[in-house]
């Protein structure tokens, strides 16, 4: 709640917190009202949705790969999604709906690749090696994206805007375009939560309890793709959010993925919105890109997890 308020009150533009507050209570100047309701409110909503989507996607990926480091940004799912968007922009795509679908297709390809990778004998058991594989893929996709930027100046400007990750200046229309996917993903999560929890006991044990591991894996892949694709369409390929949010949620929820997922619902939006507020304040009156802030917050968390010596097993 406080972060939501802060997001509405502080930010660039010649509007003071006091003026913004007046606008919220209904008697502000027309300028202030415009800034708050037309610029900051959509931005707040977009940031929160992005956080929700990435937090849940991270928790799902970590649970399924049984790897506390599995994160859409680090594993190349976001990069796959970003690459698909960049390709679409290069080919002249503009509409928000198209971007969302493209982002989801890219995320699906990336996610399927990750799941396939974890099935390779030996790789799935080593959290760090999986991350290295993801980093390799991310690097490759980023290089390809950069190449596209060199090919076309107009596209380059738009792509650059995506790549750093930002929730500023995005129209509410894009939120509407992603909403059906988010709702669908949430429904799938409700359906798959109980079997997914059983998968933590091992695949055979899950089957022994009457579940279908292959089916669960398929549904999770679709869900993660929907979530990451939506988040990328909203804010670009943000890294570390999918790592930090479940990390915080798990600290309170304990080992049950069902509780972790529930806790990601408030924690995800809070983390991204908090990062967005920081991005506005830290270099005011200019802004630091949101992607930079999440990276600055996430990198130490990653190092802490890796350095803590014993990786929490999921």
């Amino acid at each position: 709640m406080l972060i939501v308020l802060a997001s509405l009150l502080y930010g660039a533009g010649p509007v003071s917190a006091a003026q913004a507050f007046s606008a919220l209570t209904g008697d502000g100047t027309s300028d202030a009202t415009f800034v708050v309701t037309e610029l900051r409110l959509p931005r707040t909503l977009i940031a929160m949705t992005t956080g929700l989507a990435l937090g849940l996607a991270g928790a799902l990926l970590q649970s399924m790969t049984r790897n506390p480091l599995a994160e859409p940004g680090l594993l190349g799912v976001s990069a796959g999604s970003g690459f698909a968007v960049a390709l679409a922009i290069l080919l002249g795509a503009t509409t928000t709906t198209l971007t969302t679908l493209v982002a989801q297709a890219g995320a699906l390809a990336g996610c399927a690749l990750v799941i396939a990778t974890t099935r390779v004998q030996g790789l799935g058991n080593d959290p760090v090696r999986l991350i290295l594989a993801g980093a390799t893929m991310t690097g490759l996709l980023l290089a390809l994206t950069s190449m596209m930027m060199l090919m076309d100046q107009r596209a380059a400007d738009e792509i650059r805007f995506w790549i750093t990750g930002s929730v500023a200046g995005k129209p509410l229309a894009i939120l509407k375009a992603t909403l059906p996917s988010i709702v669908l993903a949430l429904t799938l999560i409700v359906l798959v939560a109980r079997p997914l929890a059983a998968m933590a006991l091992g695949e055979k044990a899950a089957l022994g309890l009457g579940h279908h591991p292959g089916r669960i894996r398929f549904l999770i892949t679709i869900t993660v793709a929907l979530l990451v694709g939506s988040a990328t369409a909203l804010a670009g390929p943000l890294i570390f959010v999918g790592l930090v949010v479940p990390f915080i949620a798990r600290a309170f929820s304990g080992p049950d993925i069902r509780k972790t997922l529930w806790l990601c619902v408030p924690v995800g939006p809070a983390v991204v919105l908090g990062a967005d507020v920081i991005s506005r304040l830290v270099a005011a009156p200019a802004e630091m890109p949101l992607g930079v802030v999440t990276a600055l917050i996430g990198a130490p968390v990653l190092l802490t997890i890796v350095r803590s010596g014993r990786m929490p097993s999921l």
Binding site: A198, A200, L201, G202, K204, A205, G208, L209, G210, P255
Partner: protein, 265 residues
């Protein structure tokens, strides 16, 4: 513990294969009801594959596994899970998961979308905790327990499923002697309460001691089947493991006891 149902499990002419490699061909077995069956044999003889086949984890290339006379692969997995519980060898649990958390998972086959945790679930849960004697441990995290305690917790989960059939894949493989006895005695108790149990056992001596029925396998074939006292002989031991031994009846139970085990000369 009450079991309102019994169930039969049998394999009819099943052929099990890993990819191109055929592990076992044309096997037919039947688990004697309310008895403990031990599947024994040297490493790589296909005993775990057979158990996985019976548990529907490994789908046979031909032939069928029949649960109450019906092909197990045509039955809904959840229905099977109400009749057949499984303790796999390579199980794992997330860090911090408590014994109570684990045992609650055993109720999943009985739950549905609309049907959350019921009075029945709670009763089955409590009965399973008591049966496996893990009441004092129920709030402890699995990773803080000894191997024997942890295995008892897993068995409690399978007991909470309230199935007439229980399959265990090497339930004592990583345990020291004391913990092995702990687990085997629990298995015997469960069988006396009416469960039909099959387990893969590495150690022939334990199989002789704790099983009512033994299936001896070598190179994918069942070479002998029956009560341990009837089928275990120096010849069988030699054929299975390539070692010589003498057999005497256990003074307290009468089950065959392997002594003077030595390499063949």
């Amino acid at each position: 513990m009450s079991h309102t149902t019994t169930a039969t499990l049998a394999a009819e002419h099943i052929t099990l294969a890993h990819g191109q490699f055929t592990v076992a061909e044309n096997l037919s077995i039947r688990l004697p009801p309310e008895k403990v069956t031990a599947i024994v044999g040297p490493n790589g003889c296909g005993k775990s594959t057979l158990l996985n086949g019976l548990a529907r984890i490994h789908k046979p290339r031909s032939g069928s596994v029949l649960l109450d006379g019906k092909d197990i692969h045509r039955l809904p997995s959840k229905d099977v899970a109400r009749k057949l519980a499984l303790l796999p060898q390579d199980n794992s649990a997330p860090e911090g998961l408590t014994v109570a958390d684990l045992v609650r998972f055993g109720r999943q086959p009985h739950q549905g979308w609309m049907k959350q945790w019921s009075v029945e679930d709670q009763q089955a849960f409590e009965a399973a905790i008591r049966a496996a004697d893990v009441s004092d441990l129920s709030e402890r995290a699995l990773d803080t327990l000894s191997g024997g305690q942890r295995q008892r917790a897993w068995i409690a989960m399978a007991v909470a499923q309230q199935t007439p059939l229980l399959l265990l894949d090497e339930p004592t493989s990583a345990l020291d002697l004391g913990h092995q006895i702990e687990v085997f005695e629990l298995i015997r108790t469960l069988s006396q309460q009416g469960k039909t149990i099959a387990m893969v056992v590495h150690d022939l001596a334990s199989a002789c001691r704790y099983a009512d029925h033994m299936i001896a396998m070598k190179a994918g074939e069942v070479i002998e089947e029956g009560a341990p006292a009837h089928i275990v002989s120096p010849e069988l031991v030699r054929e299975l493991y390539g070692v010589q031994c003498d057999l005497i009846p256990d003074p307290s139970t009468g089950s065959p006891l392997l002594v003077n085990v030595r390499r063949c000369t």
